[in-house]
Symmetry: C2
Subunit: 217 residues, 2 copies
DNA sequence: CTAAAATGTTAGAATAGTCTAACAAAAAAT
DNA sequence: ATTTTTTGTTAGACTATTCTAACATTTTAG
């Protein structure tokens, strides 16, 4: 049985590993806001449990078993987020904190029932994929809106950041996952994009916003 | 902020206080399955926080503030149990363990939403009262079926034990909260009761079972 | 290719929660 | 009224998780 603490370390390492080629003790330390020596000893402990493969001064890596464990926790996290939005009426900017806690509940059945209640969703409220019952994630290859060109038609599928302020901004812009977007114009000067949403409303999006809007063609 | 551990101590003390006139360190120790010296030091700690009033060698008592805190945790526990039964399809014998964990989630809003989703229930799946938002419990004065007499008509309102085996037995007997019961006959020899349920089915209930069926007249 | 900076590790201490062993007080039994 | 039993307390130790300070290694810069 893993502790809540161990689960959070694994999850953080998993996320860092998908974002970066190599993950250092310092990366993990920053990501968890826990000092390096603490991370160092926990890494050794998880290495002892066969979840992290660790060699002194080398980048950190999850073992196969560690990947699976992390995937299963992320599965729980995302199922819970989906449940909170769909059944308890929370906004997508309010669910992460709560899911961060509920993901550690020890009851396979509890999460199975939520999965069932949600009709086996494939993505969470932020458009991130929900790992399967083996902890396996199917990564979608979305592109950033930022990389699109004028006159391109795409669909808003996921967000690149789950920061509160970003999600609230997207809400204020009345953008929702699934919206059809057409790039009307890109400003030479600051890369601001003028887009048409659902063939109805025009919006101006800064490059920073466009960089965090993930779309499929 | 209270820790999960502290919350469990408070809750246990609250429950013991409603069942017994006086609660000893040993009672609390047994109820939590934690050794006396550990309980002793935690009691001192909670006394320091103004939640328990403690004097050496004297019975343990919750302060006003401790009662309120315990009531609020029990509220969360029972709301969660109700939610698990009504929305996730769990049996009333399966929910306690999960509620024992979820009751510690730090999010007022989460429990408010569950309360709302359940349409502000007043009792949990076992017929126990759900404390109000101030942690206040309104105790119903139900009597034990055991104490009823022949030909008396009563209604099954709550269970006196939440033991797995007892709840499963009640299920197997097809008894549900709200059922109308008429006492047909009480055996002189072993106090076994013959009852009529919902004017339809006859059942034999041992005294031990009858002692844990709480009814209103 | 050294020197400085960044990163990583070890050592030692702190807190929360638990335990066992030993001692103390209160309650019960004789 | 003692003695015995039960209950309660203290002392000291252990594990998990965290920290700071000091030292070591690796990486980067000049
Ligand atoms: Mn999240
Ligand atoms: Mn978490
Ligand atoms: Mn319960
Ligand atoms: Mn609990």
């Amino acid at each position: 049985m893993m502790t809540l603490t161990e689960e959070n370390y694994l999850k953080a390492l998993f996320h860092l590993s998908t974002e970066n080629e190599e993950v250092s003790v310092l990366d993990l330390s920053k990501s968890l806001a826990i000092k390096m020596p603490t991370v160092n000893s926990m890494v050794k402990k998880l290495s002892g449990k066969g979840l992290i493969s660790y060699e002194k001064y080398k980048p950190l890596m999850l073992t196969q078993s560690g990947k699976r464990a992390a995937g299963l926790i992320i599965r729980k996290h995302r199922l819970v987020e989906m449940f909170l939005v769909q059944h308890l009426g929370f906004g997508w900017d309010e669910v992460h904190e709560i899911a961060e806690q509920i993901e550690h509940i020890k009851s396979q059945r509890f999460f199975d029932r939520i999965d069932q209640l949600l009709d086996f969703p494939k993505v969470d409220p932020h458009g991130s994929p929900i790992p399967d019952t083996n902890g396996e994630i199917v990564f979608q290859n979305y592109i950033k809106l930022e990389e699109c060109v004028e006159n391109q038609n795409i669909v808003f599928m996921s967000v690149g950041s789950s920061q509160d302020s970003f999600l609230k901004l997207i809400d204020r812009l009345n953008l929702k996952l699934g919206d059809k977007i057409k790039v009307l114009e890109i400003q030479e000067f600051d890369k601001t994009m003028r887009v048409l949403v659902n063939e109805a409303i025009e919006q101006n999006l800064s490059q920073m916003v466009a960089a965090n809007i993930l779309v499929r063609i």
